[in-house]
């Protein structure tokens, strides 16, 4: 698209200018001059467009490459740590769940065993086997006592099982953050491919969605990732809120 300045293109206008000048024809001179300017502008405009496009492309490339640098240098390694943390959390939650199921098993087995023995004694009650029948009241009392204790333990285990499922919320938030990162990475790489192929990039990379502000929420803290001024746990939060309340 680069124009090739060709003096021959202006020969007719220059000749007309010369004729008008020699003849003292002011109107003719102005007209020839305007024609000459128009001819020159017609070559200048594409050149200006080309320079603008090149500048825009360079800006887009710079923005894309700068963002890619941040993504590759920090956010992708951070994402790796986040996903490793997800693996750790799911592993812990699965083991915690299995531990609790294994703890519940013997309690249920014992209830089944005791109730079977109790039923045997009950069925013998009033029968000729007085020795077995005589065992029933004591066994019934023992069974009820044991069942009460085991039921409380079962309830506690069920509550812990419930809380163990909280991992899904935490890991889900982390994975959503990584999905956003992959999405942005795809767009930045897409822009770079467009630039490399000479396709006009209409929007600069900085128009891509930016990270949500902390007001919208940042998600769970992940060990090994710079987390700025974060609290260490519930006690820290309680202390902070107490300080604020005392300062009012």
């Amino acid at each position: 698209m680069t124009p090739h300045p060709d003096p021959e293109r202006f020969r007719a206008q220059v000749a007309a200018l010369q004729v008008a000048l020699d003849g003292g024809d002011a109107a003719g001179f102005r007209h020839a001059f305007e024609l000459l300017c128009t001819e020159m502008d017609s070559g200048l405009l594409p050149e200006l467009k080309r320079i603008t496009a090149t500048a825009q492309s360079a800006l887009a490339r710079f923005s894309a490459e700068a963002r890619l640098d941040v993504l590759a240098g920090h956010e992708v390694p951070d994402a790796r740590k986040r996903l490793t943390h997800v693996v750790k959390l799911t592993d812990e939650a699965a083991h915690r769940t299995l531990d609790l199921v294994e703890r519940c098993g013997p309690l249920v087995d014992e209830a089944a065993r005791s109730s079977t023995l109790l039923l045997e004694a009950w069925n013998s009650h009033g029968s000729s086997d007085a020795a077995i029948a005589a065992l029933w009241p004591d066994r019934a009392a023992e069974f009820l006592k044991r069942t009460r204790t085991d039921s409380e333990a079962l309830r506690a285990n069920l509550s812990e099982l419930l809380m163990a499922q909280g991992y899904q919320d935490i890991t889900g938030q982390i994975i959503r953050g990584v999905i956003l990162l992959v999405d942005e990475l795809e767009k930045v790489l897409g822009k770079l491919v467009q630039i490399a192929e000479g396709i006009e990039v209409t929007s600069l990379v900085r128009s891509l969605p930016v990270q949500p502000e902390w007001e919208r929420g940042l998600g769970p803290q992940v060990a090994g990732i710079a987390n700025g001024d974060a609290v260490s746990g519930q006690d820290d939060i309680d202390a902070l809120l107490s300080q604020m309340a005392a300062g009012k």
Binding site: L162, Q165, Q168, D169, I237
Partner: protein, 129 residues
């Protein structure tokens, strides 16, 4: 008396809503409604007669902080106890939530004991008000 309280639990993860709902039921509360973000919660709050709001922070649509501010800005809802139940742990966030008028702040992952403690504290303050 207290178990007649009406709760609205707002979280974009249904698993967390179920966990909180089950914990509340274990504590004796049975009137529990769920919403998945501030945009769905706010109309429910305005049209219902909820006693306590328990909300997450990081949600698509309207986040919990905006919901808290909307509640405090609404004449009818302004005094409703709001418990923030969230993984957001930046000091500036907690300060912002406190300044916006949060009644309690529980960090995830949390324990049943912590939730009960904060609820008891909120209910005591509500009763004293």
């Amino acid at each position: 008396m207290s178990n007649k309280l009406k709760f609205l639990v707002v979280d974009d993860f249904s698993t967390m809503r179920r966990i909180v709902k089950n914990l509340l039921q274990e504590l004796g509360y049975s009137d529990i409604t769920e919403a998945d973000d501030g945009n769905t919660a706010l109309p429910l709050l305005k049209s219902g007669s909820f006693d306590i709001l328990i909300t997450d922070w990081n949600m698509p649509g309207m986040p919990g902080l905006d919901l808290l501010k909307a509640v405090r800005a609404d004449e009818k809802l302004a005094k409703m106890p709001v418990l923030m139940l969230t993984a957001e742990a930046k000091r500036e966030q907690i300060i912002e939530a406190a300044q916006a008028g949060v009644s309690g702040y529980v960090i995830k992952p949390f324990t049943a004991v912590t939730l009960k403690e904060k609820l008891d504290k909120i209910l005591a303050a509500r009763a004293a008000a």
